[in-house]
Symmetry: D2
Subunit: 340 residues, 4 copies
């Protein structure tokens, strides 16, 4: 089964598992005091800049909620798009574990703009209102769209001017960087982002994300937050070995590039079909389209994917690091049949 | 380097990594809706009884804190030994994430007895006092000692008679079962335990623990707690594949049995030495001993291990699933030299 | 100074303070084990029905957040109007203390309708989404509008049919009951509400609210939640004595009736003026109107009140239990001058 | 009934209620933006020093838990005596609301000494252990004993040298200052305390405590914590008016002095009786004694008081601001009869 449901349906890239097997050779200190973790921290500094302080965690929810906790020690609200993963797909973790309120913005494309901020800040300083301390954006977004470095920099500047931090949920940062042919730091460090959730799972790891602080003072005491919030791995070498394999030679770029290319191929193949209306520009590895529900039903019997909005019939198709042209072509053919 | 510091210094058993590689073949539904997870749930029912409801999580802190959250929905305090991992080694996670107070009992051997309960329950019903809802024990304990099934059953009976649940932190349950030549259920289900943290990491997994509810109503809504508390794995198959390899043919028993045997071998080799005072019976895979600090210092230069109590000079030596007789003999020789 | 800013700018009714003075005569058990509290519980049963279980707390935030905690023990989200006090004026307390996510509905008038529910429930059962357990409405609403008993009953029925509880934030329940010439129970118990925050502060107490459970099982263990959440008064008699004076002879009805009548008088006096556009029907003690900002500025120099929406120029005028016809007439004259 | 059960069984001093009646004259801004609150902040600066920043809250649990939250933004554990109110009488509020772990010290007299700290700090810097950020002491203690200014200064110095803050739970600070004939600041500001819960309820208020920050940076953002944690009073003038009456002319000293004197009178009357063993020095307004359970039972039928320890037969007798010599003499006579 090759699915277009989620990049989490894919397995791990063989090089990732191989790195884990190699890392398995002997005893090594636990809890991240191992040489693999040290090397990964160096590799992440090479990517994100010499001041980057990074911490590996298990999953994206952990990375996001912990980044929020660290950045909201004196705040109680976070601005994000209504479609943000932290708002719709973390099971209320930001509220429960970080204790914050999410202030959401309705957007057409999942992207915040600097103009969104002030409307949500009119009650800063009013003790009855939750106080915003952080803006959180996703790159690429949950709708498969992209921020340019300039757009992120404008948001960072706007956030900082209002005494807010900027968090970037980068569960698909690799896809965004590959799509724009940019280094990771162009979309993060250089753009003024303060803390990044850098995702590994969706780009071919077994499991693993990195919380990368670009404003070092936010990292103070983070090791304690990570442990207390259930995200410290015992055998840290295995998280680190995966990241090492992902970062070496920019393997993430190759994997993300493939996912993006397959999404573009699929969009090209079906975007013009009568009965298929693309609803977002296809900029990374996701395609959003409106189909007739009957076509959707027929298609899902063959290929699993998610209905994004039952009211409108919008569906989501995700391509993965391991999606092949043959997979795409077979799926495109099935779509063609379904909407015929 | 072969260490006696922690069973988390060991890597994963090759069969575990091999199972992950095999599980990597194709796309499969994410978040535990995969066939591996379904099979593991069946294997865990085979171990713990037909009513067992199990959920895989990343690490021991996660398993313990989530078991506490699930069992303390209407309570605010947990009784445990002062030496319990939840009290000393979870970074305050039970307090922060589960919101509970730990009421601790000083014990000589890390083991609670039914007589400990009533002294901590004199204020049940008093709204000024945190209300105990759960008793938590570890098997084997943090001091390497064991509860017999009868001792656990007595605690379960005492807990239930007082309207409390019983949680068993089984990060080393495998060691306890192997040491007593018992099935897992003899120390849990059959003894009246309500919820178990069944540990995989310390017995040879890359990472992975199972929260196993033996009182099914405690599991209601647990999937939401797990997600909200940051412990839902995206690619669930990789947790499950590890557990499958651990449970098949009782591999856990073989691995734990080796760790226990190596601890016994080490105890036999050095227990009688002048300058080495064993402080706990060696019943599982841990050895506690008092050494002269100078001897400890010399020894740690060669073999990493933890000083348990700087005041008394007590040290802890842990054996792992992969400790060999040669490792033990080399370490014993070094101890002999150090205390000579 | 007589203000139209907030019913919290008013003091306490003299009978309330007199009741406190009388209650001050002697020693009595603390923490609500006093005869005043017992009598108030009886009076609240007389109002809300024989099954009502009531607990006094200090303030409205406390009443609301604790009602949510009690009703969301197995849930993680609450549906409410976007304008709800719990959403905009509790400083993030529901998220921080109760750990829940608020799912909001944009409404023209601050009122939910049964049709609002299903759109927010499409992801019930999906472990990635916060799970709704409660619907919360305000009566009267933050916009000064009213639910009829039939409207509340329809919401209760819709909530219960979807396995949700219904909470009523009644910080101005007295005003709603007085305005509709109904007993309190017509808007709560008889309409199927499960838990009420019954407000005293805004209707003439020094401080005090009652959490009244109409579904008794929700009250199980509530005394512990109240204490743990910082809302148990030491000298409980003083909260109770106030409520006794408020409930005796339906004093609340007289006080709320006055506030409502004064709002109607003000609306009648200025509603038709050019330059004053009422934006909500005036059904309780609040008036919402759009004024020219220059008029607002001039007017606020004389009479404090809140600008509700700086973007539109909407303002809020609140009448209190102690507002007099002379106060209203003087304010109306000032408005007339300001908009002339 | 005149009770020796608790200083919360007493009512309010008449001057307190009179101040509330006077404060009731007119409309005034809500939420502490009133002249009474401003005056009280000035009075508290006069007591605690010009840098003191004070915030009024409803009750002692609120004051303590919020002081802990403010001081533990980057820490997760608090050192206190095992007998501390925050440990035994806040219903788990520090753990639930502030998310901290309490690390307790067994003491003979409820008092910490600098030597207690290091044993609890051996794991500072170890990410597996909750990290201590605060030491909390009570003055007077829950056992009716007193710290001298020198003892507090020694603790403050020891705490600061270890990068910890010092909190003083002063629910009975007035009693301690009166007993030692010292200004409040001698036991707090001048001794190096960082934040104080200054109690009003037990010394004659209806309800009210002040959180007083002596290290101003701890107060940053505290107004938001107070609101979010349910402790912001709507009609703030009534809390402030009480404190104004308490502080004017040091009324607290007169009231606390009386409570202390009555405790001394009672101790003198019964301390030497066969059958009455005082277990703590009587330094403030509490007396702890061991009686024969039969004597206790007979006595409690006439005069309510608490059995402190059912195992030893220890009881607690509290004197209040309103206890009279006649009350004491009648109680002493009853004790004499009971133990005869």
């Amino acid at each position: 089964m090759k699915s277009f449901a989620s990049d989490n349906y894919a397995g791990a890239h063989p090089a990732i598992l191989e790195a884990m097997v190699i890392a398995n050779a002997e005893h090594t200190p636990a809890y991240g005091a191992d040489p693999w973790t040290e090397r990964v921290q160096g590799l992440l500094r090479a990517e994100f800049g010499e001041d980057a302080r990074s911490y590996l965690v298990f999953n994206g929810t952990g990375a996001n909620v912990l980044a929020i906790r660290a950045a909201c020690r004196r705040a109680s609200a976070v601005i994000c798009a209504a479609t943000a993963h932290i708002n719709v797909d973390e099971g209320g973790g930001p509220e429960y574990v970080a204790g914050v309120k999410l202030r959401t913005v309705d957007t057409p494309d999942g992207k915040l703009v600097p103009q969104d901020l002030d409307a949500l800040l009119v009650r800063q300083g009013d003790e009855h209102a939750a106080q915003v301390g952080l803006v959180s954006i996703s790159e690429s977004t949950e709708l498969g769209t992209l921020y340019t470095p300039q757009e992120i920099a404008a948001l960072a500047q706007a956030a900082h001017a209002r005494d807010l931090y900027l968090h970037l949920d980068g569960s698909r940062l690799a896809h965004a960087a590959a799509a724009q042919d940019l280094p990771l730091r162009a979309l993060t460090t250089d753009a003024g982002v303060d803390v990044v959730s850098f995702g590994g799972t969706k780009i071919g790891l077994v499991a693993g994300e990195a919380v990368v602080f670009l404003r070092p003072e936010l990292a103070d005491g983070f090791a304690y937050l990570r442990k207390q919030s259930l995200q410290l791995a015992s055998k840290g070498r295995f998280l680190a070995a995966q990241f090492e394999a992902l970062l070496e030679g920019e393997r993430w770029r190759e994997l993300a590039g493939n996912a993006n290319a397959m999404a573009a191929r699929l969009a090209a193949a079906v975007g013009g079909l009568p009965g298929v209306t693309l609803t977002q520009p296809v900029q990374a590895n996701a395609i959003f389209a409106i189909l007739d529900p009957a076509a959707t039903q027929a298609l899902r019997a063959e290929f699993p994917f998610y209905v994004w909005d039952h009211a409108t019939g919008e569906v989501r198709w995700m391509c993965s690091w391991d999606t092949t042209p043959e997979d795409v072509d077979a799926f495109a053919a099935a779509i063609r049949r379904a909407v015929a």
